[in-house]
């Protein structure tokens, strides 16, 4: 489904953020990207729907090269990839329902969207998605009155509006308390199992990785140094991945 080959991304200073990354992901996999802060996890994730344009290399999505896409084709692609951010990135002064409906912006005409003329189907789907994530009854609450866990579930509901084949999650539980993180991870796991949606998430808690994920990519200083199933992720591997960070601590 996704094949990344020789992917490089440099900062303006010339320091590599991603250094020659190669891997491929099959449909329905539940992949965690782990690594110390600044190792390029988020950059890698953002390259996949090209919020960040890589310096060189290829990302194939069903055989199409994402890095060479024109703007128009790219927008088509983004419609089928949902994304969930650490900081939720919702519009905080507006209602839950509106925020969820924004997920369908890509498939709407520009003029209609500017006047908030969402289709009946979209509205029904939004209600359905919200109830799926246990948020029914909160449709008309303003976002800034929700807790962090609820906001993240709204963000997942929004990404479901795109009927995604792939969901990218950039630290989805990093700013949540343990109970909310469990709920959010449960929902992601359920989506992965019930709908066969591929999920790629950056995570920094090894416990969560072991509990939910099936496959792990380990990044260190922009290089992919581990690629395997969760079963292979033992203490020595974790230590290798976080090695540099540990040095910095002492």
């Amino acid at each position: 489904m996704i094949k990344v080959s020789n992917l490089n991304q440099y900062f303006e200073t010339g320091v590599p953020a991603l250094d020659n990354i190669n891997f491929s992901i099959k449909k329905g996999e539940f992949v965690a990207i782990i690594g110390p802060s600044g190792s390029g996890k988020s950059t890698l994730l953002r390259c996949i729907n090209r919020l960040v344009t890589p310096t060189s290399g290829h990302i194939y999505f069903y055989g199409q090269d994402i890095c060479k896409m024109r703007q128009f084709v790219l927008r088509q692609l983004r419609r089928s990839i949902g994304i969930v951010f650490q900081q939720f990135n919702l519009i905080s002064r507006q209602s839950v329902l509106k925020n969820v409906l924004y997920g369908s912006l890509g498939s709407m005409g520009t003029i209609r969207s500017l006047f908030h003329l969402f289709g009946q189907q979209d509205i029904a789907l939004a209600h359905h998605n919200l109830s799926l994530l246990g948020l029914s009854g909160k449709e008309y609450v303003r976002i800034d009155q929700l807790s962090g866990g609820e906001q993240q579930r709204v963000a997942i509901a929004r990404s479901l509006m795109q009927s995604p084949v792939l969901i990218l999650a950039d630290e989805p539980v990093a700013s949540l308390d343990p109970v909310s993180s469990e709920t959010v991870m449960m929902h992601l796991k359920k989506l992965n199992q019930d709908r066969n949606i591929t999920i790629i998430a950056t995570v920094h808690s090894i416990d969560i990785v072991k509990k939910y994920f099936t496959r792990v990519l380990g990044l260190q200083a922009g290089r992919l140094i581990f690629d395997g199933s969760v079963a292979d992720l033992d203490a020595s591997v974790v230590q290798t991945i976080y090695e540099n960070d540990a040095y910095e601590l002492f």
């Binding site: 983004r78 912006l105 500017l114």
Partner: protein, 358 residues
């Protein structure tokens, strides 16, 4: 290779600051000598009248200050420029030396003293005039008149202040759509993608800076020649100034928005217009409203001033009665202006406070 080039620029930069420091010293001394010669030497020592400064004088003193600053530049701690650009090395004097023992401090004091003296002379500051008997008589007469307003013209004054109010309102209202459009094109975070973006940004910024640095009073004079004396000219003047001032405030607000919601909208496959409408506009709407109300408040105050040069409204009425020296009526007008402006000030403050919270 890259390393070497960086070092070379570093080297250049370093010496560039020596040039700046020297130029600062040179012009500082030139200023000192010219002021001293013109205002003190000619006045107190030659005791002649102050003739115009000739170009020969300027050339002569340029030479003198060139010599002076050149010599002092190479004596440690005698150059203000070197101090300002941090080029002094603690060779003879450590930084622990008391400030009174550093020569540049005394040079700076000298410059300050001569500037103050120059200021006193040029503004013709005189305590004799301020506390003279006839001066007090005059001020007593005018204050008594102002404090006993003539209410026979209150109806005309109220109509005129209404006119001023609507000049301010229309100037604000009509400037908002222009400023709103311009602000997106003049905010650096949205306009750095291609060369064309940056070029348009640069041109717009220059245009805004020019219109903003010319006072509305001057615009009013220009427009009163263009469209004739009256409220329309005043409105146009205020509108032009409001457009540039609001664009600046708006675009600064746009530069401070969060990237996150934009990324979110972008990742749903939305196009550029949708990103701005859903990712940018909701973040800036409340601050924009707040700025606009504040600008309306400012415009009301400016509209009175603009009336003085023919912009219509209460200001125009004020200058007419002032010209006729009818101080009782001027008192009425001042009273009306003060009430309306302070009311507007109060309400705009309340609304802005509410917006900040809501």
């Amino acid at each position: 290779m890259k390393m070497m080039r960086m070092n070379f620029f570093k080297f250049l930069n370093h010496y560039q600051y020596y040039l700046y420091a020297y130029l600062l010293d040179f012009f500082g001394w030139l200023y000192f000598f010219l002021v001293f010669y013109q205002l003190f030497y000619k006045r107190f020592i030659l005791t002649g009248d102050l003739s115009v400064l000739t170009s020969q004088d300027v050339i002569f003193f340029s030479g003198v200050s060139f010599l002076f600053s050149s010599i002092l530049f190479f004596i440690p701690y005698c150059s203000i420029g070197k101090k300002l650009f941090l080029l002094n090395r603690s060779l003879f004097y450590g930084e622990s030396v008391h400030v009174f023992k550093r020569p540049y401090f005394w040079i700076f004091t000298l410059f300050t003293v001569i500037t103050l003296g120059c200021g006193f002379y040029i503004t013709q500051l005189s305590f004799v005039e301020l506390f003279s008997y006839y001066g007090f008589l005059g001020v007593k007469r005018i204050f008594l008149a102002l404090l006993s307003p003539d209410f026979s013209i209150i109806k005309i004054a109220l109509v005129a202040v209404f006119e001023t109010f609507f000049i301010a309102f229309m100037a604000t209202f009509l400037s908002v759509p222009f400023a709103f459009m311009i602000s997106f094109f003049s905010s650096s975070n949205l306009m750095r993608r291609t060369f064309l973006h940056r070029f348009a940004y640069f041109i717009l910024r220059i245009f805004l800076n020019i219109t903003r640095s010319i006072e509305p009073l001057v615009w009013a004079i220009i427009f009163s020649v263009w469209v004739g004396i009256g409220p329309f000219a005043g409105m146009l003047a205020l509108m032009l100034h409001s457009i540039s001032a609001l664009s600046k405030l708006y675009s600064e607000q746009i530069e401070n928005i969060e990237q996150g919601p934009q990324d979110m909208i972008l990742s749903t496959g939305a196009n550029a217009i949708q990103v701005i409408w859903f990712g940018v506009v909701p973040q800036i709407l409340i601050p924009f409203l707040s700025f606009t109300i504040y600008r309306w408040d400012i415009n009301l105050r400016m509209a009175t001033i603009i009336g003085l040069v023919g912009g219509g409204g209460i200001g125009q009425m004020l200058i007419q009665y002032q010209g006729l020296a009818q101080w009782h009526r001027v008192g009425t007008i001042i009273l009306v202006i003060a009430i309306v402006v302070s009311l507007m000030d109060y309400f705009s403050m309340i609304v802005r406070e509410k917006l900040k919270r809501g």
